[in-house]
């Protein structure tokens, strides 16, 4: 299990690392949005603990957006207690939201829960069963929601198969022509 710990406060980050690093095989740290996005791009993480307020007040939101997209169990760990922000983050699909200051056993319990979910999701993926984290706006209609879920599922499996058309088609029980059709439909590109 790998953890990405993102907080702009160096002293706090080192203490948090000390508290939870034994739960992981590897721990990476980032103090700003750029570092965090670089790590997410470079490596596959299982859990991310993200401070909402990095160099700029909402940098953590941008990081969470990317980490959630990359199937990382994202725990927001922030001093921000704004209800509107909490609503937005839940809409985004964060795994947990902890308001600083919290006692370390509570943080550890949240991290342990995230690890448990992530481990089991990985096991399910081997059986070709995927966990999709979706927030749907009913006003936009069923069709739009279906399209979003379809795109999400397709993208997830394509990425997991490293853009291998044959394996993706096999996972989705589809013909290769259909895979090309969806790639074109959703403008998907292999990340360099």
């Amino acid at each position: 299990m790998t953890l990405l710990l993102i907080d702009d406060d160096n002293s706090l980050r080192s203490q948090l690392k000390f508290s939870i690093e034994t739960l992981f095989d590897e721990v990476y740290e980032a103090e700003n949005k750029e570092d965090a996005l670089f790590h997410i791009n470079e490596k596959s993480f299982d859990v991310a603990v993200v401070d909402l307020h990095l160099e700029n007040p909402y940098d953590g939101y941008e990081v969470a957006k990317t980490s959630i997209k990359e199937n990382i169990k994202t725990i927001m760990f922030t001093a921000n207690n704004n209800q509107a922000d909490i609503k937005e983050l839940i809409k985004l699909g964060v795994f947990d939201y902890l308001n600083k200051p919290v006692d370390i056993p509570t943080l550890k319990a949240a991290v342990r829960r995230a690890i448990l979910f992530r481990k089991n999701e990985k096991k399910l993926a081997k059986d070709n069963i995927y966990y999709l984290n979706h927030c749907v706006d009913a006003k936009e209609g069923i069709k739009s929601s279906i399209t979003n879920i379809e795109k999400d599922l397709f993208e997830k499996i394509l990425k997991q198969n490293k853009f291998n058309i044959y394996h993706t088609a096999k996972s989705l029980n589809m013909k290769r022509e259909h895979i090309y059709y969806f790639i074109k439909k959703y403008h998907l590109q292999r990340e360099v």
């Binding site: 406060d9 002293s11 706090l12 080192s14 203490q15 000390f18 001093a79 921000n80 200051p101």
Partner: protein, 357 residues
């Protein structure tokens, strides 16, 4: 004969015309040069309104002005002024410009006001007004920018305070959890790396907290024995209890505490610079249902007495220039007032309204 006569007249007219043109050119050049110098002066004074207005005096003759006067207002109170040398003025140009809580009334008395000189006077006056307006605008902009920064800092304060609290929670947990020597060494290593950023963060936070000038006081008004409150603050600052007189008001204690603390802190800072300084605090009942507290010291006089209440005005090296501004803002919010005097000694007078239950 007649033709020769006409030719001579024509030559004469031509020469006169040329002389007039040269004279006008000379006058215009002289005026534009002078205006250019005034603009340059403004630049060398870093577009500071007060110093620009003061130094304008040395350009009076070049601008063909006899005299000028101005009044700079902050919150409708005069903070800087220059009066005319003579009062019986027949002709003058004047205008008031304002921006934010500041206003400037500017008046010029030209040397002459006949013929084309009137146009020149208008040109000079309009240029000066334009410069004053620009300087005033820049001053207000600078102040607004500072206030914006402060409000931005407030969001950071919350974030940083919670982070520091969280740090200590994590640290105490980690100290309890670290059992082996290796773990303890690792914790020590993390801690060593943490100390510097933590110290910087705490210092920054404490400094920012001092800037909190928009405090709101929601507590109920209560009966306050002024001499007790003042003595408790004096004791806190190690200045000894020296309040004369007694007084009682119905007010919000936290608000009065902040006000008195600011004034007493200034006395303490002054005493550090001037160890021989002696001071006294006196409470006096006044007519019209008011009570005054006199903070008087025999140290150096208060510099720039009119400017003390302006935000970010300070004479201290490390000062933020927010203390006395905060004092006046808070006092105005409860219909009280603060006044400064240098005669015979440097004195801060706080006048509170008397209320009854």
């Amino acid at each position: 004969m007649i033709e020769e006569y006409f030719a001579e007249v024509l030559i004469l007219v031509g020469i006169i015309n040329l002389l007039i043109i040269y004279f006008i050119r000379f006058e215009v050049r002289k005026l534009t040069n002078s205006l250019g110098k005034v603009i340059e002066l403004n630049k060398t004074q870093h577009y500071e309104l007060e110093s620009f207005l003061t130094n304008l005096e040395s350009f009076l003759f070049q601008l063909q002005l006899q005299d000028y006067s101005y009044k700079v207002y902050f919150q409708n109170e005069v903070i800087q002024e220059r009066k005319l040398q003579k009062n019986n003025i027949k002709y003058s140009l004047n205008e008031t410009v304002s921006s934010g809580e500041y206003a400037v009334h500017f008046q010029v008395v030209p040397l002459r006001d006949i013929g084309e000189q009137k146009d020149k006077n208008k040109m000079v006056f309009n240029t000066l007004i334009l410069l004053i307006h620009e300087n005033l605008h820049m001053k207000v902009e600078a102040i607004n920018k500072k206030f914006e920064t402060i409000s931005k800092y407030h969001t950071f304060i919350l974030h940083d305070t919670k982070n520091i609290t969280q740090f200590f929670q994590a640290l105490s947990y980690n100290i309890e959890q670290a059992e082996t020597i290796k773990e303890k060494e690792q914790l020590l290593d993390y801690l060593q790396r943490s100390i510097n950023p933590l110290y910087q963060k705490s210092t920054k936070l404490l400094k920012l907290l001092e800037l909190n000038c928009e405090e709101k006081f929601y507590e109920d008004k209560q009966k306050i024995q002024l001499e007790d409150l003042l003595n408790s603050i004096l004791k806190l600052y190690g200045l000894g209890e020296c309040v004369r007189g007694k007084g009682c008001v119905i007010e919000q204690e936290a608000l009065l505490y902040v006000v008195f603390e600011n004034v007493i802190k200034n006395i303490k800072d002054k005493k550090e610079k001037e160890p021989a300084l002696e001071f006294k605090i006196e409470i006096k009942y006044l007519y019209e249902k008011k009570i005054s507290i006199f903070f008087e010291d025999n140290g150096t006089k208060i510099q720039n007495i009119q400017k003390v209440f302006e935000p970010f005005y300070t004479t201290k090296k490390q000062g933020l220039g927010i203390g006395m501004y905060k004092v006046r803002t808070l006092l105005h919010s409860i219909n009280a007032d603060v006044e400064l005097k240098n005669d015979p000694n440097a004195t801060v007078i706080i006048t509170l309204p008397l209320r009854w239950f």
